[in-house]
């Protein structure tokens, strides 16, 4: 299954940039205000939001650069749940979250696990989900992976510190050498990418 199929909801044949000349949208980092969203906060407890933070940090951890928490991924998840997911998609996410939090398969609630147990628990569920054929409703662990990757690499930290962002280079270098330690361009998912939350 291609990245597109897993990650995005295809918007018909035009979903790929047909002119495709803009592989990576670039940015200047102008400091513009982001309108605040009137958050219709989903009915999740503080513990559940903590779990979302923990899981996002498992997916993209702090290494020599900041991880998901430093990049504000839980806020992104909150925005997506309240503003972007459909009611059915939100319910599927929350049901999955509750099941995951209860930890029936582990015999203990997620919150009560040690750090390494949390890692093992999440890792095992993700491996199973990624090995399975796509389900009609995407499992919670896979949704969290999509949300975390998207939220992290579209954040300022992910796009400019973890990866590299080049803007308005004035020249185009068609065959630049990849040097040791180079970080890939963050680019941007063009307007044609739509997140698959179903």
């Amino acid at each position: 299954m291609s990245a597109d199929e897993r990650f995005v909801m295809k918007r018909g044949p035009e979903s790929l940039d047909r002119r495709a000349f803009v592989q990576l949208a670039a940015t200047f980092g102008l400091s513009l205000c982001v309108p605040s969203l009137a958050a219709k906060s989903p009915a999740l407890t503080t513990e559940e939001w903590t779990l979302i933070g923990d899981v996002s940090e498992l997916i993209i951890p702090t290494t020599d650069t900041g991880g998901a928490l430093a990049a504000g991924v839980p806020d992104f998840v909150k925005m997506m749940l309240s503003e972007w997911f459909s009611d059915a998609e939100r319910q599927n996410f929350i049901d999955g979250l509750h099941e995951f939090a209860a930890g029936k398969k582990h015999g203990k609630k997620f919150a009560e696990l040690t750090a390494s147990q949390k890692d093992q628990y999440f890792g095992a569920l993700l491996a199973t989900a990624e090995g399975d054929a796509p389900a009609p409703h995407t499992p919670f662990v896979v949704l969290m992976k999509r949300l975390t990757i998207f939220g992290y690499y579209t954040s300022e930290l992910g796009a400019t510190t973890e990866l590299r962002q080049r803007v308005a280079t004035a020249q185009y270098e068609p065959a630049a050498d990849v040097k040791p330690g180079d970080r890939a361009d963050s680019g941007l998912p063009g307007a044609m990418y739509w997140f698959n939350a179903s």
Partner: protein
């Protein structure tokens, strides 16, 4: 008889801007009517703006889009950074035949779709103007390549087209180009691999209306990438960056925005358009303007809607429409994507976001009818290295995943093929007999389907692309769905007020002049008797410049 203006140009997009420029430069006092709002570079809200500064990280406000932009949001260039450039479908209804749908992509503002267009500007070749006659589909073009060639020169030199000059395809003659942009390492490899096996298939940088050298106060491209967000340095051609400033500089241009044209009045005594009726978009107040000549450049569907709605005793079916062809023969290009992963070249990447693609002009039916289908197809294409968006399809998580996404991914090469659609009488635009929009204009109904020849071409387009990808060593080749997409997605809609030699089978003559109404010219895509397998905009820019100069000559000679 006194007139408000010498000329009225309806529409300010790619062709309307050209009409305004040419007519004002020839000394005419011109009124440019635009149904949408005014636009300046200050309206390029998304330019250079990073993902995290958009409330939805560029995913856009999905629920609002589903409500207000169900059609427009299917366009590849629509999104959070550009949504201000599209009409709300909820406010601008049109009809679709459910079994034969057509996607009408629109931008109502000064500059029209010239702000969001794709910028690929090949010429059409001599064959494209002869093929209707050769195979009998559609009416014969009333002009040949030599008639339009000097106007291609004129347009290219003014708008600035960058492109390669080594390969002169019969379907894309080399023009007056600025230096072309460069192909990247993967594109060069694919081009060389294909050429070794198929010497007649040449993959080159596409001619593109983006500057590589400064021109008329516009800067060379700075390679930021997504042109459709607007360009404050004016590096790609738009009406805002190029033609409208030139027209304004003459002192002969009056721009009136927020004015919806609802019809043209016909005077049977003079056999001319006597006036242009408009409704103020905001106040709904009606107004009428007069001029010696009228250039209709509202884009194919909207121009046809205006013509159909301009009825009189003389023309009960639309002004100048005694032939009955107005609203028929709608064409577009279906786009089909074939892509694959190209192994190797992992030591190379690109710096900068090149806003021009590579492309391959048509290579079938070059010397007569040799393929098992009529006409042919061409490809736009590009290669890039995969990035973090591949992360979700990778197994695993944690530090290992983070490290993998820090590195450049493999090269992916995509062909975006588009094929020539024949003109069919049943692909139509009509006015709804009952429903009207909020400005009193009858709603436009569409009916569109692809024919047998298009389905046959599509098979070859896909198999040829896959074969060429394999030749270049591609793996993971991905093919498009077998069913062709609905019409309209190509945004190359043309043909519903076509030119021709015979007034009984065409709407316009060889100078884009109505056969029956001497002071009426239509020079947007609606004038085209065929759509070729090349992007149409450069051609209707050249037709506009040619028609405008003809019209001025005729006025001077007292013929209009």
């Amino acid at each position: 008889m006194s007139h408000d203006f010498d000329a009225i140009v309806i529409g300010s997009g790619i062709s309307g801007g050209w009409a305004a420029k040419e007519l004002t430069e020839k000394g005419l006092k011109v009124l440019l009517l635009e149904r949408g709002r005014s636009i300046t570079p200050a309206d390029y809200l998304g330019e250079h703006k990073p993902a995290w500064q958009f409330p939805f990280r560029q995913l856009g406000d999905r629920k609002r889009y589903e409500r207000d932009y169900p059609i427009q949001s299917t366009c590849y260039a629509f999104g959070e950074p550009t949504e201000q450039f599209w009409v709300k479908d909820s406010e601008h209804p049109y009809g679709q035949d459910p079994a034969h749908p057509f996607r009408w992509i629109r931008g109502f503002h000064l500059g029209g779709k010239s702000l969001m267009w794709g910028r690929t500007t090949p010429r059409w070749g001599p064959i494209n103007f002869e093929e209707n006659k050769r195979d009998g589909h559609g009416v014969d073009w009333p002009i040949r390549y030599d008639d339009i060639r000097p106007w291609y020169d004129h347009v290219e030199e003014f708008i600035g087209v960058s492109g390669q000059t080594e390969f002169d395809s019969p379907f894309a003659p080399v023009g007056r180009f600025q230096p072309g942009m460069l192909m990247n390492a993967c594109e060069t490899h694919v081009a060389d691999s294909i050429r070794r096996k198929f010497p007649d298939r040449r993959l080159t940088i596409a001619p593109s209306a983006v500057l590589t050298k400064p021109l008329h106060g516009r800067a060379a491209c700075h390679y930021c990438g997504p042109c459709e967000r607007g360009c404050s340095t004016g590096s790609y051609f738009s009406s805002i960056s190029s033609t409208l400033p030139a027209a304004k500089a003459t002192g002969n241009l009056t721009i009136v925005t927020d004015s919806v044209v609802v019809g043209l009045d016909y005077d049977p005594k003079t056999r001319k358009v006597a006036g242009v009726r408009v409704v103020d978009k905001n106040t709904r107040a009606g107004k009428r303007f007069t001029a010696k000549i009228v250039f209709l450049n509202a884009a194919t569907l909207a121009s046809t809607q205006i013509l159909l709605n301009s009825t009189s005793e003389s023309f009960p079916n639309g002004i100048g429409n005694r032939s009955g062809v107005l609203g028929h023969y709608l064409m577009d290009h279906p786009y089909l994507t074939v892509s694959g992963v190209i192994p190797g070249m992992l030591d190379k990447h690109t710096i900068g976001n090149r806003p021009a693609g590579v492309w391959m002009p048509r290579f079938h039916n070059v010397d007569g009818q040799t393929a098992p289908f009529l006409r042919g197809f061409s490809y736009e294409a590009s290669a890039s290295r995969a990035n973090w968006t591949d992360g979700v399809s990778m197994q695993g998580y944690g530090a290992a995943l983070k490290q993998r996404l820090r590195e450049y991914g493999p090269w992916t090469f995509g062909f975006y093929g588009f094929l020539e659609c024949l003109p069919y009488r049943d692909n139509t635009l009509t006015l709804d007999p009952v429903r009207k929009d909020q400005w009193g204009l009858p709603i436009l109904n569409t009916r569109f389907e692809w024919g047998k020849n298009e389905r046959e071409i599509a098979k070859h387009l896909v198999s040829d692309a896959a074969e060429m990808l394999k030749t270049a060593g591609a793996t993971n080749i991905s093919l498009p769905p077998e069913e062709l997409p609905p019409g309209g997605f190509g945004i190359h809609e043309v043909g519903t007020a076509r030119m021709g030699r015979d007034p009984t089978t065409s709407f316009l003559n060889g100078h884009n002049q109505s056969h029956e109404v001497a002071n009426l010219f239509v020079t947007d895509g609606s004038c085209m008797p065929s759509v070729a397998a090349q992007n149409p905009s450069l051609t209707f820019m050249a037709l506009t410049a040619r028609a405008a100069n003809y019209a001025v000559d005729q006025m001077k000679a007292g013929a209009i």
